[in-house]
């Protein structure tokens, strides 16, 4: 929809001080989907020219914040040669939004919205992603994705700060993964999205819980954990109020799905019944 209070569309390359009423414009698929009467300027990241996907010297993957979901999806299906690659498409498909939206929606935008059901949060949190943030001063800092999102719609992003990229380390890319997702509706918004990763070096299992909770929760287990160990970790680690309560699913159901999927993932990744 038209954002009628926006008085200026400013190329982000021009720089300049951050003002009240400014908003970064990534793909625009969230910003233009709801009224934003507080926004006066859109700082357009469309011409930054950041390489969408870059392999790092040590074998990791740096995803530019402006990389579109469509580009990442194509990469995951056709180009990525690492073990965890199928997880990319699984997470893309967990979007409520249509594949047409993927053509413009950005990975960074999904992270910065910080919604529990944000599947790029699930993907990058599960693969040990680290956010690279740039302050208006030009200084950079790094925050793990799982700590970047701190609550429903809340994130560790300071005024004027920009998410530049997310880097997934090589070791995570080499892990075996298992994916489970449920929604109140067919192909709908995630009410629970869990990812298991099996470390390629030490065989440890990491469980990443998203969508059912207000923020990502991660649980690390030594190789082949028991069902009881996984259950206990989740029960102790996620407080009742951490389960997300909105119209897309009752908290009790989300909690149940979390345990249910965790056990399925544990078994899929080779832990004993």
């Amino acid at each position: 929809m038209d954002l009628n209070t926006v008085a200026e569309l400013r190329d982000a390359r021009l720089g300049g001080p951050w003002r009240t009423g400014d908003a970064w414009l990534g793909g625009g698929t969230y910003l233009f989907s709801e009224p934003q009467p507080h926004i006066r300027r859109l700082i357009d990241l469309g011409r930054m020219g950041w390489e969408p996907l870059t392999r790092t010297p040590d074998g990791g993957l740096e995803i530019a914040a402006t990389c579109t979901v469509a580009r990442l999806s194509r990469y995951g299906r056709q180009e990525a040669d690492w073990t965890a690659a199928p997880l990319v498409e699984q997470c893309c498909r967990a979007f409520l939004a249509s594949w047409k939206i993927w053509n413009t929606a950005t990975v960074g935008g999904n992270l910065c919205n910080g919604l529990p059901a944000g599947p790029m949060i699930s993907l990058t949190a599960a693969l040990d992603g680290v956010c690279l943030l740039r302050a208006p001063s030009g200084e950079y800092r790094k925050v793990p994705v799982a700590e970047f999102v701190t609550g429903s719609g809340r994130k560790d992003l300071r005024t004027g700060e920009l998410l530049r990229s997310i880097t997934l380390p090589a070791r995570a890319l080499a892990s075996r993964t298992a994916f489970r997702q449920a929604s109140l509706y067919g192909l709908g918004r995630s009410a629970a999205l869990l990812v298991g990763t099996l470390d390629p070096v030490d065989g440890s299992l990491t469980l990443t819980v998203t969508a059912s909770t207000v923020r990502p929760f991660r649980f690390w287990f030594p190789p082949a954990p028991s069902a009881a160990a996984v259950e206990e970790a989740i029960r102790d680690g996620i407080r009742p109020e951490d389960y997300f309560d909105d119209i897309h699913g009752l908290p009790a159901w989300r909690r149940h799905l979390t345990f249910h999927f965790a056990e399925q993932i544990r078994r899929e990744l080779g832990s004993p019944s």
Partner: protein
């Protein structure tokens, strides 16, 4: 730096506004094929291709299209006008009804690759269609052809395509807002943040200072006169409880003020600058609490408002008893009683409410909406009239209401509907025309008011939520001894359609069953929530859900097959529908297909193997329900029609009813083609315009075929007679030797073209035209049945529909393809209301589901193919044996599903929607323990 982009090959250099999306940029350049459905990226109606990639243009920053090539539906066909193969397929399969979503589907499906075409559930998840139920769209994508071109005179009963099809698939069909009006002003509404408040003061000074703002309207500008936004043939059916702008607001979202400005942006800014001082009043959201002593009174009004008991918030009520239910229950071997609740549901037509008000010289009808500013089109200011181009099902009743509201003579107001992008009852209401006309009259300028999607949820109407207690008594052999309903319908803050929906809800739902003792207690109650209004089924669906669920449960308790229980107790051919509120004397079973509808269910059960499709560990069940509906509303429904021979030898039908995908235009042409022995391509239809005929009550109450169609049939038959009589005289041939052909009269071996007949008649000063009229009474009854087999995952609550079968008694089916589409669309819409649709209010009564991402509509992936079986009946009342089939397919769906869910889970679910979390929770509670506790 100069801006440049190409749209459909044409360069444009106008720089977009900084916050503008591509959708409005394209529409402002006249590319009206790009539709606004949700304006939030959820529905896909605005899909265009940017450098070949489909995007939702409502989310696409227009400035980002710089240097790119944009293709809209208007650019999909070849330069020579040859349709894109996908456009042709949508025509051949008639993959649309109202057509508002079609451009978006075309721009999406024409860009799908081979892999995507094999995964339609995912590929189409960003495109919503509210009308078709998607089967026709799937057939279109797969290249299945359904349309036929029958021989002259044989159109009835055949699969003719909709006359507007070519315009729909090329994006050239003109919907309400698809017009350019020079000097058009835009209206935005300020809405109440409180559920109940008195407006103590409104300061509009700052709003009026916003550049571009021309006018701010508040309750000081509104007439004192009370009316109802509901439109009925008899305005007294609804209480007069509404003002254009009131000094008391009764729900969050009620309009408080209107700002008219040069642009929507300025009007929005004006709304933000209005300062309102409210005195908040106590409010009530629950209808039972609203009736209790001491509840806040919403409408302390006098008897002239026709509110049943204003002091108790009872808008309307009905009480009656036939026989003695007390005795009936005493005689019963089994008594079953349960309370059911139906939720708020929104119509969600893809075209929002709205209208464009212009002026034209009186007595010179122009192309509606293609009008200039007042006075421009010639004629003095004193001789002009107001033209309201509206997204309405009821142009004539809206004109009547506007005239009554503003003391205008009928000839000073013309109301026209363009093609309407879906209605479902929601547009049997005057929600925008009143205030837009007030502003236009004040300013003497054209004014547009177009609702946003969010306004559809908090500022339009919903289906009435019902609380229904059903009590049934039966003998051991299944014979019903008594039926009792207690019904509380929540009409929200205003009583539009409140009493009428309440009365209808307890009519056919109870009348279809024979029982010696029947009792009804029904209330339509005011609460401080968004008003409910007319909705497909008009109350019947809510009570049918309850009674059909109860009948199923009763059958289980009696140990009788629920089909047998129905067969034992339903009324038969020739019987009357008896109810405790008195018999409706003009209601007759003029054809009886209910037995066939139940036979469809029996047949489906007998040959069913779908249980094999259920995943391992899932619970499987089956269930059915039935429904009856009167073919038209009580109290009369008027249609006038005129059919005339044209100079070119073709025919013209003038009829008042509106086309919003219901397909009545197709049927009217078929009926006329049959009567006149011609083909439909020789018949044009002028419709939904108060200029074209004397009167038409409107496109509601399932009246398009059986009422307006009957008027068209009469007119066409009368014209055929006149044509033959005139031609016999002209050709000096006995009339009995004449036969009407496609474009000529066959005269005993000689052919006289209709062109020649027209010339001859003109020479003699004779106009070959005839009128038809039907008053909508007597009425017949149509029947439906629905059967499902479903599977439920006990671990997640997920439900899959394994098979869906529908029986429909539509009398003689005028157009099987189209009628099937009506059934499929009804089933799909009902599945939405059964499975997930719900308008939720927070504790202050504010709607929290005001977008499609929060209010889930059925998508392609959600809707199974439904096998549709028509009864072979022919009605004695309806035109050529036809009955209604537009509202009714909705009604048996929810109870059939609930009965299947009961069968699968052992749990009787009484409160739709049956969401996965709630189904899982009910199963978990029955198991007595939650996972891992």
């Amino acid at each position: 730096m100069s801006f440049a982009m190409h749209v459909n090959g044409r360069p444009t250099g106008v720089e977009p506004r900084p916050g503008q999306c591509l959708r409005t940029y394209l529409r402002e350049r006249g590319w009206f094929g790009v539709k606004k459905g949700c304006d939030a990226g959820d529905c896909g109606a605005c899909t265009v291709q940017v450098d070949g990639a489909p995007v939702h243009s409502c989310l696409y920053p227009a400035a980002r299209a710089e240097g790119r090539s944009v293709t809209t539906v208007e650019g999909l066909a070849g330069p020579d006008g040859e349709l894109h193969p996908m456009q042709q397929r949508f025509l051949d399969a008639q993959g649309f009804q109202c057509g508002f979503c079609t451009a978006g589907f075309l721009m999406t499906t024409s860009a799908l690759d081979e892999e995507q075409l094999t995964d339609l559930p995912r590929s189409l998840k960003g495109n919503l269609c509210r009308c078709t139920g998607y089967r026709a769209i799937e057939d279109a994508i797969n290249g299945v052809r359904h349309t036929e071109e029958p021989d002259p005179g044989h159109a009835v009963g055949r699969n003719l395509g909709a006359p507007a099809g070519p315009q729909v698939v090329t994006g050239t069909a003109r919907y309400t807002f698809d017009v350019e009006v020079p000097g058009l002003l835009h209206m935005k509404l300020l809405r109440s943040p409180h559920p109940h408040a008195r407006i103590l003061a409104i300061d509009t000074a700052a709003a009026l200072r916003v550049p571009g703002v021309h006018l701010v309207l508040t309750h000081h500008d509104a007439p004192e006169r009370l009316y109802s936004s509901a439109r009925h043939e008899h305005p007294t059916e609804d209480p007069d409880d509404t003002r254009v702008l009131d000094d008391v607001v009764r729900f969050v979202g009620q309009r408080v003020a209107a700002v008219v400005a040069d642009s929507e942006a300025a009007a929005e800014e004006g709304c933000r600058r209005i300062v309102v001082e409210y005195q908040q009043l106590p409010y009530v959201l629950d209808p039972e609490e609203a009736m209790a002593p001491g509840a806040p009174v919403l409408h302390p009004k006098g008897p002239e408002s026709r509110i049943a008991r204003p002091e108790n918030n009872v808008c309307g009520e009905a009480h009656g008893e036939l026989g003695s239910v007390e005795q009936g229950f005493a005689e019963a071997d089994v008594v079953y009683e349960e309370t059911f609740r139906t939720q708020r549901v929104q119509h969600a037509s893809l075209e929002t409410h709205g209208c464009v008000v212009t002026f034209e010289p009186a007595g010179q009808p122009g192309e509606a909406g293609q009008l200039g500013e007042a006075g421009e089109a010639g004629g003095g200011a004193g001789e002009e009239r107001i033209v309201v181009r509206s997204s309405t099902q009821v142009p004539f009743l809206t004109r009547r209401a506007l005239c009554a509201l503003y003391d205008l003579p009928m000839e000073k107001v013309r109301v026209v509907a363009g093609r309407v992008g879906g209605g479902f009852g929601g547009k049997q209401e005057m929600l925008t025309e009143d205030i837009a006309v007030l502003a236009a009259m004040r300013l003497h300028r054209p004014v547009k008011l177009e609702f946003t999607r969010a306004e559809q949820f908090h500022g339009a109407t919903t289906r009435h939520p019902f609380l229904i207690t059903v009590k049934l008594g039966a003998k051991r052999d299944g014979t019903l001894t008594a039926i009792r309903f207690r019904v509380v319908s929540n009409t929200g803050a205003y009583g539009n359609h409140g009493p009428a929906v309440m009365f209808h809800s307890v009519g056919e739902s109870m009348g279809v069953y024979r029982a010696p003792n029947k009792k009804v207690e029904a209330y339509s109650v005011y609460t401080n929530g968004v008003p409910a209004g007319a909705f497909r089924g008009y109350g019947l669906g809510q009570v049918t859900f309850a009674v059909e669920s109860a009948m199923d449960e009763l059958a289980r308790r009696l140990g009788i097959d629920p089909l047998v229980l129905r067969e034992k107790n339903i009324i038969g051919p020739g019987e009357h529908m008896e109810g405790p509120l008195g018999e409706e004397e003009d209601l007759h079973i003029a054809s009886y297909g209910l037995d066939q509808c139940l036979g469809v269910v029996r047949e489906a059960l007998a040959n069913d193997t779908s249980a094999e499709l259920a995943p391992e560990g899932w619970l499987v069940g089956q269930g059915f329900a039935m429904a009856a509906i009167a073919c038209g509303p009580p109290g009369g429904h008027i249609a006038d029609a005129t059919v005339r021979l044209l100079e070119d030898g073709g025919y013209d039908i003038a009829v008042g009813t509106a086309e919003f995908g219901n397909g009545t235009t197709t049927v009217h042409r078929q009926i006329a083609a049959g009567a006149l022995g011609t083909t439909v391509d020789r018949i044009t239809v002028r419709q939904s315009d108060t200029d074209v005929v004397r009167h038409d009550t409107g496109a509601f109450g399932s009246a398009g075929t059986v009422v307006a169609g009957k008027a068209v049939m009469q007119a066409a038959n009368a014209l055929a007679e006149r044509l033959l009589t005139f031609t016999a005289e002209y050709a000096r041939t006995p009339r009995s030797l004449l036969r009407l052909g496609a474009d000529a009269v066959e005269c005993h071996g000689r052919t006289i073209t209709l062109k020649e007949v027209f010339e001859a008649a003109r020479g003699k000063g004779v106009e070959l035209a005839a009128d038809g009229h039907f008053g909508g009474s007597p009425r017949s009854i149509a029947f439906n049945s629905q059967w499902f087999r479903i599977a439920v995952d006990p671990d997640t609550g997920e439900i899959r529909i394994l098979r869906s079968v529908h029986g429909a008694d539509a009398g003689r089916v005028m157009n099987p393809m189209q009628c099937r589409g009506q059934v499929e669309g009804g089933v799909a819409q009902a599945l939405g209301a059964t499975l997930f649709e719900r308008v939720l209010l927070d504790e202050h009564g504010e709607v929290t589901t005001a977008a499609f991402r929060r209010y889930r509509l059925p998508a392609y992936a959600d809707v199974p193919r439904t096998e549709v079986h028509f009864s072979t009946t022919s009605d004695a009342i309806g035109p050529l044996g036809a009955k209604s089939m537009s509202e009714s397919p909705f009604n048996p769906v929810a109870p059939a599903f609930a009965n299947a869910l009961r069968d699968a889970t052992g749990i009787r679910f009484t409160d739709p929607p049956f969401l996965r979390d709630q189904v899982w929770q009910a199963l978990a509670e029955r198991r007595g323990s939650h996972y891992s506790e």
